[in-house]
Amino acid sequence: MDRTRRSFLKGLAIAGTSAAAAAVPVVSEASQARHAPEDAVGMLYDTTRCIGCKACVVACHEANDLPPDNRTDALHDQPQALNDRTKNIIKLYKEEGRRSYMKQQCMHCIDPACAGACMIGALQKREHGIVTWDPNRCIGCRYCQVACPYSIPKFEWESTNPRIVKCELCNHRIKDGGIPACCEVCPREAVVYGKYTELLAEAKRRQAEHPGRYVDKIYGEHDGGGTQVLYLSHVPFEKLGLPTLGEKSVPSLNRTIQHGIYKGMIAPAALYAVMGGVMLRNRKKNRDEEGGDA
């Protein structure tokens, strides 16, 4: 009995060490950057072409069956910001004689924080790398709202059966061979739809063709691990409200740590075994000391 217990404890020590060792290679694998999927699609928005007509805002409402946001003005559909009735908005930046419009909707991140947050995958990167929301998997925890660095997912606060509302790149239209409503109606091709790689090439082409017109950067090429919606601008991107994120995606740090600790549940299992083992030993020791009492 005693010998079995001792070898059992020795086994635990080995299990614990190997669990720690197993976690090491996993960390480096998990921290590798993600890339856009082969069939990725996206949008390219160019501030120099946008005239602020907001045709895309109206079209987005219609295409997505969203009620008009007339809460501030009963006569007009006039959203103040992205909200539970607005998946797309045009904002105006104006300062010292410089002005620019800005289109805001989901960025369809290559490594989305919202999808990293969501417990059973209501938000997920699905076909074409589009980040879509599944009503049957959403618990309404709103962790996606906490995590998204662009403040995109919105919640139906007034509903007793609330949904998450965000641009899903008109995936229902794409499925039927169409294109996003906002891109379809834009009179100036300020926002265009296309294959992700082609959009990136197009953005670079425009920058090369018009030296000095644009800020020397394509927002979304690397920002926050990259996004499938890309931006060209003649004013600094911070002015447009786009966050400065660095090249690493937001969820990559979490993944490195979570995967390191939980790969295959080896470490927790080892911890469990060690805890149980130590307590068995303690109980035995105490019994011996108490001389058979207990």
């Binding site: 997920q124 925890c141 919640f155 979490n254 939980y262 927790p268 469990y272 149980g276």
Partner: protein, 391 residues
């Protein structure tokens, strides 16, 4: 079972205290029902900018850490082997079981579609293993059950007086218990650290003084200190309220370990800020810098108090140190989840009256059930007869 035998406190269940607690609980419950009738918008101060408020930051994130008494005690008593079945374990377990149950209720009230919660444990194939919140959810669900099992001997002991089945179950539990206790140590280790991971994903929206890859570790370490502190306070307060003998010796003997834990917390935070080149924030972030230093002081000062008192630590000092740890730990969590979380310009959050009252109702319910259970079941030990029954 050796040594300190736990006994029910006895006495009437309905007193002025319990009556008041019951009233607050019922008001909270009524408001919680109303919240489901009108939705989260009208009933709370929450918004798309601040999707999480006090129900998450206080009831769940802070509440479960305060409920780590069972974890901290089990860790210290069973793993460092400081006295088997010690008198502190059961009350600590009860507080934990109640704290976690209350947190679970808090989550049900907070989420938009609680009727889908059952899908989380059963949707194994859909689990998003990247999600720290999934891990928290699964662990907390399991841990609530494990805690009540860990506590079951207290109930079985009493029921065993009448029922043979309960007696048999009690004997079985006596043997099997350590495997539940072991689970009861692994689960909080996992989800308390994961609570740190959860808010780590806020990334750039969490202030640099709080955002670090060490968040999981810091959350884990702070919950151990908080758990211990709560046990100190609980032991002192319940010895007052129920006329029980205090468990000073045991707590004093653990104070060095806790002082060490506190110092590790302070050191890791500071060193990390230096290593990651964020020292400018230490004084340059206005009010948040001030909050940071208050948090640090609330960890450092009690550590020094516990160390200075080595050997002749008075219960007063220990109680004050514990109070500071509880405040420090609570503040750290509250700040990380709410105050240092910045969703951008134009957003503000202040809890609505119903949010506050529902939280108070949950706390009142927790205390109420604690009182009722210690009066009816053998949970507290160190009887000092007679005096007990009057309160």
């Amino acid at each position: 079972m050796s040594g300190h035998k736990a006994t029910p406190v006895g006495g009437p269940l309905l007193t002025r205290t319990t009556g008041t607690l019951l009233a607050i609980t019922l008001v909270g419950a009524a408001l919680a029902i109303w919240r489901f009738a009108v939705g989260l918008g009208p009933s709370t101060g929450l918004s798309d900018g601040y999707p999480w408020g006090i129900w998450i930051a206080f009831d769940v994130v802070t509440g479960t850490a305060l409920a780590c008494g069972g974890y901290a005690m089990a860790l210290l008593v069973y793993i460092f082997n400081r006295g088997k079945y010690h008198g502190l374990v059961r009350p600590a377990l009860l507080t934990s079981a109640l704290g976690y149950s209350v947190a679970a209720i808090g989550i049900i009230i907070d989420v938009g579609k609680p009727w889908y919660i059952w899908r989380i444990p059963v949707s194994v194939g859909k689990w998003n293993l990247d999600s720290a919140l999934l891990e928290v959810a699964l662990c907390v669900m399991t841990y609530v059950i494990v805690l009540w099992i860990e506590l079951s001997p207290a109930f079985l002991e009493k029921w065993g007086e009448k029922s043979g089945l309960a007696r048999g179950l009690g004997a079985f539990m006596d043997k099997a218990l350590i495997w539940f206790i072991a689970l009861g140590m692994v689960l909080p280790t996992m989800h308390q650290s994961s609570l740190g991971s959860v808010i780590m994903l806020a990334g750039p929206r969490l202030h640099g003084l709080w955002h670090t890859g060490w968040l999981p570790f810091l959350f884990l370490v702070s919950c151990i200190a908080m758990g211990y502190a709560v046990v100190v306070m609980e032991s002192t307060l319940s010895s007052r309220a129920f006329g029980r003998v205090r468990e000073d010796r045991m707590l004093v003997s653990l104070s060095n370990v806790i002082a060490f834990v506190l110092l590790v917390f302070v050191a890791v935070r500071l060193i990390d800020l230096v290593v990651t080149g964020k020292t400018a924030l230490l004084f340059g972030a206005g009010g948040l810098s001030a909050l940071f230093w208050v948090e640090m002081a609330l960890f450092l000062v009690p550590a020094l108090m516990l160390l200075a008192g080595r050997g002749h630590l008075g219960i007063g000092t220990m109680f004050r140190a514990a109070l500071m740890i509880v405040f420090g730990g609570a503040m750290y969590r509250f700040d990380a989840y709410l105050v240092a979380f910045n969703p951008g310009p134009g957003w503000a959050y202040f809890p609505s009256v119903p949010e506050i009252v529902i939280t108070l109702g949950l706390v009142a319910m927790e205390i109420l059930v604690f009182i009722v259970l210690v009066k009816s079941f053998p949970i507290l030990s160190g009887t000092r007869p007679a005096a007990a029954a009057t309160k």
